[in-house]
């Protein structure tokens, strides 16, 4: 998915790869793409994690990450 840059911003792009076994791989995952993928795989803990509501006032306690599968497919080859 590619969008022309707005307000002088560079062209932005997100990419998806759907494997025959049903796995989804994604890169440049925007909040909108994460929501879309979660609709496809509502039980996917990694996607659930990435669609949580959050804001700048919610500091992350790095010593207590959420109990989710630690392998993340949402950022590829970079």
């Amino acid at each position: 998915m590619t969008m022309d840059g707005m307000d002088g911003k560079p062209l932005c792009e997100s990419s998806l790869l759907i494997l025959p076994d049903g796995r989804l791989l994604a890169r440049n995952v925007t909040p909108e793409i994460a929501a879309l993928l979660l609709a496809l795989q509502p039980e996917n803990p990694d996607l659930t994690l990435r669609t949580l509501e959050h804001g700048p006032s919610q500091a992350r306690p790095v010593d207590s990450p959420p109990p989710v599968r630690p392998l993340s497919p949402t950022h590829s080859n970079a």
Binding site: N28, P31, G55
Partner: protein
């Protein structure tokens, strides 16, 4: 020899940076270092290759980059490490490595893909995203952002003092670059791509890789909130991940490790046997078992 595929000579006038507000320690520190960073480009030794070229005169060296970067992506993203997302991610073209499987191979190998943007302009977009709650941090990545040291410093100089700044790097910067970045980014995400120099040379044409990246990792653990990222590659769980994991356990126990399973065949991966497929489920399981064996601190 690494080829530079985009060698059009582009020179640009120096753009003056507006001084940050009085009392803004980090922005002021960054601005004070811009001149040193520009001088460093005249005899470039800010990455492991130490080409010794004058990048202020135009694109040169192994990375083929000139004085200022092009930006190929600038948007809010949620695919990176949990503790930094949502992040306003800014991707700079050009890189000091030539990874055959790079997902942004075209932009990383060609430093003039994307568009020229002033650091203050990009900082304004990022600061707005943070201020209105769409992002909680600014993430600068590439390509390899540290090869664009003066622009990087101007970006920090233009960001609000309290903004959370995250640098994602391939770990090939030298001490001369790191000393100018010290104290400016809250978090460094350092890719530990290869567990041995043979794979690093074969797949990224980078010599003496492990020594360089380990130096950055040790520095990062002392000076930043370090996250070590490893992208699992098909067929490289034993030779690369296991070796990296063993070194982390031995030298940086307790440091956060982000293990990524999202490899997909991209760019020139098909030129290498075994890299033209995604990671298998048994490989993922073996990688996790390795992490458990070395008692690594995995973060999502």
């Amino acid at each position: 020899m690494v080829e530079t595929m985009d060698a059009a000579l582009i020179t640009s006038p120096r753009v003056p940076v507006m001084p940050p507000p009085a009392g803004a320690v980090r922005p002021r520190l960054a601005m004070e270092r811009v001149g040193l960073a520009e001088r460093a480009l005249t005899d470039c030794g800010i990455c492991q290759h130490r080409c010794g070229v004058n990048r202020l005169a135009g694109p040169a060296g192994r990375c083929g980059a000139g004085a200022d970067p092009h930006i190929f992506s600038s948007q809010v993203e949620v695919g990176d490490e949990w503790e930094i997302i949502p992040a306003y991610a800014v991707a700079l073209s050009g890189c000091s490595m030539r990874c055959a499987f790079c997902i942004t191979g075209d932009e990383s190998w060609h430093p003039r893909r994307g568009q020229r943007l002033e650091a203050a302009t990009v900082a304004g977009w990022a600061a707005a995203a943070i201020a209105d709650g769409r992002a909680q941090s600014l993430l600068v990545l590439g390509g390899e952002p540290t090869i664009h040291l003066p622009w990087l410093l101007r970006l920090v100089a233009a960001m609000p003092e309290k903004a959370r700044l995250v640098l994602k790097t391939n770990g090939l910067s030298t001490d001369s670059a790191r000393v100018l970045l010290e104290g400016l980014f809250d978090v460094w995400i350092v890719d530990f791509k290869f567990g041995n120099d043979g794979c690093a040379w074969r797949l990224s044409r980078t010599a003496d890789y492990t020594g360089a990246v380990r130096e950055t990792l040790l520095w990062g653990a002392r000076h930043t909130d370090l996250i070590i990222r490893h992208l699992l590659m098909p067929g490289h769980v034993e030779c690369c991940w296991r070796q990296a994991a063993a070194w982390i356990a031995s030298h940086l126990p307790g440091v956060k490790v982000s293990l990524r399973s999202g490899y997909w065949p991209a760019w020139r991966a098909s030129l290498h046997n075994g890299l033209n497929r995604p990671l298998s489920s048994p490989e993922q399981a073996a990688a996790l078992e390795t992490a458990r064996h070395f008692n690594l601190r995995l973060v999502p």
